[in-house]
């Protein structure tokens, strides 16, 4: 592989754009196809299909074998609330190759001392979420317990293609939340996208345990095609 090709592949990843590296397995010939270039590529159909499934694999065309290295953008977790659970969650998410961004307008919470090495936005969710752009490789979790902060974020998530939405709070809290969001015009099917109470039921007690249950639920949603019990 040429270094320039590897460098381009890494640049696409950093920019959160999908790309496919096409390798002729016999000759070693390679090319990088960016998401925007798929339609004009001779292997357009195969590229489209593998990209949609997010899967690398071998394809054959005219007696030649190609390996498609499919690179989808790194999965991102947008965390609403620079709270105790978020402090435990951020380093764990990093180990799972998840890109974490934390949003909290309360500047007493959103401090670099509490969140070293984590992108931290001390802003209101509705002000910054349009800039960040919630795509289908994004999970959004609302952890503040405060409807003034959580609700605008949940509304933005519900209007997006994001693959996971979770909200912290008891069943009762969630009933009230569902009522508010219904009154704001969201349909029942939309609201069913919200995982609440958030996280897998592992009986989590501490902030770190709750972080594990949330991340486990995000992974379970991301990998649902592979689950035996799905």
């Amino acid at each position: 592989m040429r270094l320039s090709l590897l460098s381009d592949l890494n640049a696409e990843r950093a920019a959160r754009r999908a790309a496919v590296l096409v390798t002729d397995t016999a000759s070693g010939e390679q090319r990088l196809v960016r998401e925007a270039e798929v339609e004009t590529d001779p292997l357009a159909q195969e590229l489209r299909d593998n990209l949609r499934r997010g899967k690398s694999g071998i394809v054959e065309r005219d007696g030649r074998q190609f390996f498609l290295t499919v690179q989808t953008p790194p999965v991102r977790v947008v965390v609403i609330g620079a709270v105790h659970i978020s402090q435990a969650l951020a380093p764990m998410a990093k180990g799972l190759d998840l890109d974490v961004t934390i949003i909290d307008p309360r500047t007493a919470f959103a401090t670099p001392e509490r969140f070293p090495d984590v992108p931290l936005l001390p802003e209101w969710p509705d002000a910054v979420l349009p800039e960040i752009g919630i795509d289908r490789y994004t999970a959004l979790i609302a952890l503040t317990h405060d409807p003034k902060i959580d609700d605008p974020a949940l509304k933005a998530a519900l209007r997006s293609e994001c693959f996971y939405i979770g909200a912290l709070g008891s069943r009762k809290t969630h009933e009230r939340r569902v009522q508010r969001l219904s009154e704001a015009g969201f349909a029942e099917a939309d609201l069913a996208r919200i995982h609440a109470p958030i996280g897998l039921d592992i009986g989590a007690v501490s902030p770190a345990e709750i972080a594990v249950s949330i991340l486990a639920e995000i992974v379970a949603t991301l990998r649902k095609d592979r689950r035996r019990s799905a």
């Binding site: 270094l3 590897l6 390798t23 690398s56 290295t69 499919v70 790194p74």
Partner: protein, 107 residues
Amino acid sequence: MLSTDTDILRTAEAWRREGRGVAIATVVETWGSAPRPVGSHLVIDEDTNFLGSVSGGCVEGAVITEALDVIADGKPRMIEFGVADETAWQVGLSCGGRIRVYVERVD
């Protein structure tokens, strides 16, 4: 250092920019219960430093040895690993799966 997919290819780029000889091994096909999915990478440098994995540790040694040849002559190679045969001295996957690994040099 954690070796996530992001780290592995970034590391390959960084090592090459430092002037090291570098090879990338990629799982291109699996049959049966293979430990790592298609598309998984292992990055190797000329001093046998490596990051990532193509199996659960079963065949990495053999891939690294092959990678050194690839770094030396620049010719990509396809290697296949099957079930470990305990009666013969050979590298294999004790899980019973089979994998094909493509090894190429970063130029």
